[in-house]
């Protein structure tokens, strides 16, 4: 059974997620979030991060189609970088960095509680699909 080292564990809503640290560029507190009309709900808005435009994504919509809280200035966020794309995931709380074990297909932490391990590549592709789909619909 493979062991995952350096995984960041965080909470959004009632769900605990895990993400390998190598995808996380930084943990930030969001600046002013500008909403992007005509964008799908998965895109909570855009932020200024060190002078670059950073899309803020809602992990709940991306994975389950269930929107979480809207992203606001001061919210915590993880800045992800994968597949040549950079985005921020709004989080309620960053718990800690840990090593994880896989058990019967589920990812569990040291206390045996299950976590959802995120695949950032798939997450970003899903986001891109949603954005492109919405853009197509808007014409």
């Amino acid at each position: 059974m493979p062991e995952l080292r350096n995984v960041i564990i965080f909470t959004v809503g009632a769900v605990r997620y895990a993400l390998e640290l190598r995808w996380v560029r930084e943990v930030v507190s969001l600046g002013f979030v500008t909403s992007v009309p005509t964008a799908p709900t998965a895109l909570g808005g855009v932020c200024n991060l060190h002078g670059a435009i950073l899309p803020v994504l809602d992990v709940g919509v991306l994975l389950d189609g269930v929107p979480g809280l809207p992203a606001r200035q001061g919210d915590g966020a993880l800045v992800l970088e994968a597949e040549g794309m950079v985005c921020a995931l709004r989080v309620d709380q960053v718990d800690h960095v840990a090593s994880l074990h896989e058990s019967a297909g589920d990812v569990i932490d040291a206390t045996g509680r299950p976590l959802r391990l995120l695949d950032p590549g798939r997450l970003l592709h899903r986001a891109l699909e949603l954005v492109a789909g919405e853009a197509e619909r808007m014409g």
Partner: protein, 733 residues
């Protein structure tokens, strides 16, 4: 000569004068350099000839751009130089100083053309020049005002009409206004948007190719299943053929789209190179910024009596000119702040055994894609304890936060607007004043400010900026509480639109209305709204908004790959307070306003120039004055000529060997290869022996006319050139 005779419109004339000014500064610089090279000694004959040549060129150009007083002044200067050249005794030790003074005065005159006292300035320069020409007379004995008589004879070399071997001059520089490069930059930026649009279409094509393959497969399968059905063999044969053809076409389509995507990738690289190249053109050393800082500090020293010196490092670091211009104010502010609040009084410094002279250091360096500027002082530093108390006292932070925050975070709070600009008359309040301005200016450039401070040791502000920026003019407006921008080049007017109108009348047409409050907001219509009249690719529409903010210079930031499919936006910009503002793409607004014409709108972009213009032929303009080249290009261009330009005879000769010209318009006196020499060479070449040649000159004497006739020159036109004179020359046989 009056402006009306010039046949340029106001804008063109302004542009030409701008060019002329740059050129004149160069010419005058050359004269100064020649004078200074000799100290107070009389310049060599060769140096005098060179000085006369540039002065002469200046005169011709001044006439063409409609500056008669400048014609007079450069004419007088040229004559004075000729007088000095004729009489060895005409050069006094004071002449060098006088010449430099005249040149400086001329430059001053050119820089203040719009001011009311130009006549007085010109009169003064005239009398100065007179003292060069007639050093032994009293300045009162002025000749009457400008007379057009030419001073003959001039130096032999000049009389030959050729300048001889080119004197060693500075490396060739091209004078380009920053604005022009900016225009190119923004065109390159537009290219980027165009590429994104094309890319999206190609992606669609690819999907289409896939769908087509699938359809073919369905057909193929149906035919295979139905193989036994021989009911209608004719139809079946047709379908089988069609299926085969479809397979081939689908494959071709998918290959073509794949190739297109490759080509778009190549285009992307080229656009990137173009932008980088343009950015390099705008780069200048940080030195000028530091010189400006040194001047500011000198002023501050005088004003406050502070004992402080400036140290600089990294003067050669290259900075985008556009960025540098926007850094002047923040740096001034930081210097002011350091002198007023950072540096302790002399007594305090002495008590702490610090050097009596305080030091402010400005360092510039490049770090990856960033420019880093540090402005530091060796003063008292910032008291973070007091700042913590202030943050809590003013209610900005709560006590636990102030407790938990580290010093860096506390210092960062100082940069936020309003922290300590509340009028408290203590040092801390003073430190914060103006820092908000610094923060905003840097944020607007897409950069960041950080501050580090050590008690008793000093404070350093670090400005981290993108190495280059794409600045553009945009119209800012508000919809549903958010600020948006649209490229100002496409905003042609503002208007008011009634609550429910779906079209607005503008000029002769009825214009469609795009209600941005519905597209971008929650669209509670029901009132008259301000609106922007937007024009793109020949289509005009009206966009209603909540509020028009006005035109601003913005930096265009790309939205990144994730947001690229949202074609409504052409990018984003960052406001002074660090908020992201979206830029709307006028092309998409047109698509919404004219859905049926969307396809043709793009095509319409490219047939603007298809006016039924009759081509007169290909002309080559040869003159060492850029202002004259531009003026001639404009005049000939409007007569239907395709115009190329060359800055001297040698270049012109090269060009005529590569391309056949129907007309060559040339100056006589030019570096490298003069006009007559050029014409003689043209006549000696089979390709150009019959080319029509027109000479433009301000030195038309009978000898010149004779030579021109011998060389089969069609006409000789005296500078300043007007459209009428040129047309007559072209009509001559």
């Amino acid at each position: 000569m009056s402006g009306a005779e010039l046949d340029f419109d106001a804008e063109e004339l302004a542009m030409l004068r701008q060019l002329f000014r740059a050129e004149a500064h160069d010419a005058l610089e050359t004269v100064t350099a020649r004078v200074l090279a000799g100290g107070s000694a009389r310049p060599s004959a060769e140096a005098l000839t060179e000085m006369m040549r540039v002065t002469h060129t200046l005169k011709g150009a001044a006439g063409t751009v409609g500056l008669p007083v400048m014609v007079d002044l450069s004419h007088r200067l040229e004559s004075a130089l000729a007088a000095v050249g004729r009489e060895p005794s005409g050069w006094l030790p004071a002449t060098a100083d006088l010449l430099v003074a005249v040149i400086d005065a001329l430059r001053g005159y050119l820089d203040h053309l719009a001011e009311p006292d130009t006549d007085a300035r010109a009169a003064q320069i005239r009398s100065q020049i007179d003292r060069i020409a007639r050093p032994n007379r009293r300045p009162e004995s002025q000749p009457p005002a400008f007379v057009e008589a030419l001073p003959e004879p001039v130096l032999e070399v000049a009389a030959e009409g050729e300048a001889g071997p080119a004197p060693p001059g500075p490396a060739p520089w091209l004078h380009v206004e920053v604005g022009r490069i900016d225009d190119l930059m923004s065109s390159a930026g537009e290219l980027l948007f165009d590429r994104t649009r094309i890319e999206r279409r190609v992606q669609l094509l690819r999907t289409l190719a896939r769908d087509l393959s699938r359809t073919r497969q369905t057909l193929h399968d149906a035919l295979a299943d139905d193989a036994a059905d021989e009911a209608r063999p004719g139809l079946r044969a047709t379908l089988v053929d069609a299926e085969a053809a479809l397979a081939g076409q689908a494959a071709l389509l998918s290959q073509t789209t794949a190739a297109l995507l490759d080509e778009i990738e190549a285009l992307r690289r080229t656009i990137g190179e173009l932008q980088r190249g343009l950015t390099r053109m705008r780069m200048e050393p940080a030195r000028s910024l530091m010189l400006h800082a040194a001047r500011t500090l000198r002023g501050l020293r005088r004003a406050t009596g502070a004992t402080v010196e400036l140290r600089t490092a990294g003067e050669d670091t290259e900075v985008d000119k556009a960025v540098a211009e926007h850094l002047v104010d923040p740096i001034t502010q930081l210097l002011r702040n350091a002198v007023a609040h950072g540096i302790e009084p002399a007594a305090v410094r002495a008590a702490q055994a610090k050097p009596a002279t305080a030091t402010i250091t400005i360092r510039a360096r490049q770090d990856g894609n960033s420019l880093v500027l540090e402005v530091g002082d060796d003063g008292r530093g910032i008291d973070t304890g007091a700042l913590r108390r202030r943050l809590v006292a003013t209610g900005r932070w709560n006590a636990p936060r102030a407790q938990l925050a580290n010093d860096a975070e506390v210092l960062e709070a100082l940069l936020e607007t309003g922290v300590s600009s509340r009028g408290e008359a203590d040092e801390l309040a003073g430190r914060g004043v103006g820092l908000g301005v610094v923060q905003q200016a840097v944020a607007r450039l897409g950069g960041e400010v950080t501050v580090a401070s050590a008690a008793g040791k000093g404070t350093t502000f670090t400005l981290r900026l993108p190495l280059s920026t794409t600045l553009a003019q945009a119209m800012l407006f508000k919809v549903d509480g958010q600020v948006y921008a649209i490229p100002n080049a496409h905003v042609i007017d503002t208007a008011h639109v009634g609550a429910h109108a779906t079209s607005a009348s503008g000029g002769h047409d009825t214009l469609p209305v795009v209600r941005l409050e519905q597209l971008l907001g929650h669209g509670a219509a029901g009132e008259r709204r301000p609106a922007l009249v937007v024009s793109f690719a020949g289509k005009t529409l009206v966009c209603t908004v909540d509020k028009i903010i006005g035109a601003r210079e913005i930096i265009i930031k790309p939205l990144g790959p994730l947001l690229a499919p949202l074609t409504l936006y052409a990018g984003a910009t960052i406001s002074g307070s660090g908020k992201v503002q979206l830029i709307l793409d006028p092309a998409q607004l047109v698509r919404r306003a004219y859905p049926e014409a969307a396809a043709t709108a793009l095509a319409g972009l490219h047939d603007r120039g298809s006016s039924p213009h009759v081509l007169a032929g290909r002309a080559l303009v040869v003159d060492d004055s850029r202002a004259i080249r531009e003026a001639m290009t404009s005049m000939l261009g409007s007569e239907g000529w395709i115009v190329d330009v060359a800055e001297d005879g040698a270049r012109a000769l090269q060009m005529t060997r590569q391309l056949r010209y129907d007309l060559v318009v040339t100056d006589l006196e030019m570096p490298a290869l003069g006009g007559f020499e050029l014409i003689a060479r043209l006549r000696g070449d089979e390709r150009s022996k019959d080319t029509a040649v027109v000479i433009i000159t301000s030195r038309a004497n009978p000898e010149h006319r004779r030579r021109a006739r011998d060389l089969g020159v069609r006409a000789l036109v005296a500078k300043p050139i007007t459209r009428r004179k040129l047309l007559e020359a072209l009509a001559a046989r």
